[in-house]
Subunit: 157 residues, 2 copies
DNA sequence: GCAGCGGCGTTAGTGTCCCTAACGATACGG
DNA sequence: CCGTATCGTTAGGGACACTAACGCCGCTGC
């Protein structure tokens, strides 16, 4: 076994070394696969990533206008409209005009919506479990922590 | 100090916990920022991610047909055409008909192309340095290793 | 009052990736 | 030869991130 650096020899034999060194490549590939996995799992129950994020934000932080929801979820106001249309049609949220400011809508989770959130949460928990299967709990934590640091560092660069 | 798990409390105060737990979210956000950073740096010298990947593959593994190049670089054959058009117009590669099979082209790096590759490599080294600035060498290695394991695991799932 | 600025929800459109479909040309196997 | 498969190429679809503009309303100041 001339395996130098054991676990560090990652992936593809016919990917050039210069390319393999690029963090953006590795993260990008992983992101793509994670997006696919989560997207497919959510699609199976007729949902979308943004549906989950919006429901979670409403459930954890309470009702909000669409604008504030957009800020909290990082779903663009333009895209949020369609998401809320879906959720409203399914009875998961309620869109009511704000009596204090007629420009705004007040978005509220319904009981059905909280139930839906629980469902989506379970689906995604399954995905996470599958995705992080090869990592033990400590490794999962370090992965999160390292990514978070890189992420935070880039967020204010 | 009620700081539980110290370094693990990552990022956004108004992101719901359920969402924060999703690896796909964290990886996705990071991927987006890395893509932006690398894309912008390459754009400043008039290049594209795929230009780099193609040049690197040719330089490391030698000439190839477009089809094999596509396999090696994971750039789709359809998209590869435009990339090779660019590189050929700039004199970085040579597109010659394969005498052994008139369907194929043989793609070869020129000297100018190797020089260009060096330039792009430096640009990206700078990006990597900037991006991974908050991590020490050991942490960078573990980040790569962990991502590679997740990635490899998803690749054959 | 009312005029102007700015935030609200909404519609439409842009650009970039990743990916598929089909086509003419060429190779290859029966 | 005839059918099938592969090559480079063109065109387009679909998801995602993002911008522009519009009509509506609130707010401030004159």
């Amino acid at each position: 076994m001339e395996s130098d650096d054991a676990g560090l020899r990652h992936s593809d034999a016919d990917t050039p070394e210069r390319v393999r060194r690029q963090l953006s490549r590795l993260v990008g590939m992983t992101a793509g696969q994670l997006r696919k996995a989560a997207g497919a799992a959510l699609a199976e129950v007729g949902a979308h990533k943004d549906h989950f994020v919006v429901l979670a934000s409403l459930a954890e932080f309470g009702p909000a206008s669409q604008s504030r929801l957009s800020d909290r979820t990082r779903v663009y106001r333009s895209d949020l409209v369609a998401v809320l249309n879906d959720l409203e049609a399914a009875g998961h949220i309620q869109r009511a005009p704000d009596p204090e400011d007629k420009r705004r809508n007040v978005i509220t989770v319904t009981a059905k919506g909280r139930c839906r959130l629980g469902e989506l949460d379970e689906v995604l928990a399954g995905v996470n479990e599958h995705v992080m299967a090869p990592l033990d709990p400590a490794e999962r934590d370090t992965l999160f922590a390292l990514l978070a640091r890189v992420n935070a560092h880039l967020a204010d660069g």
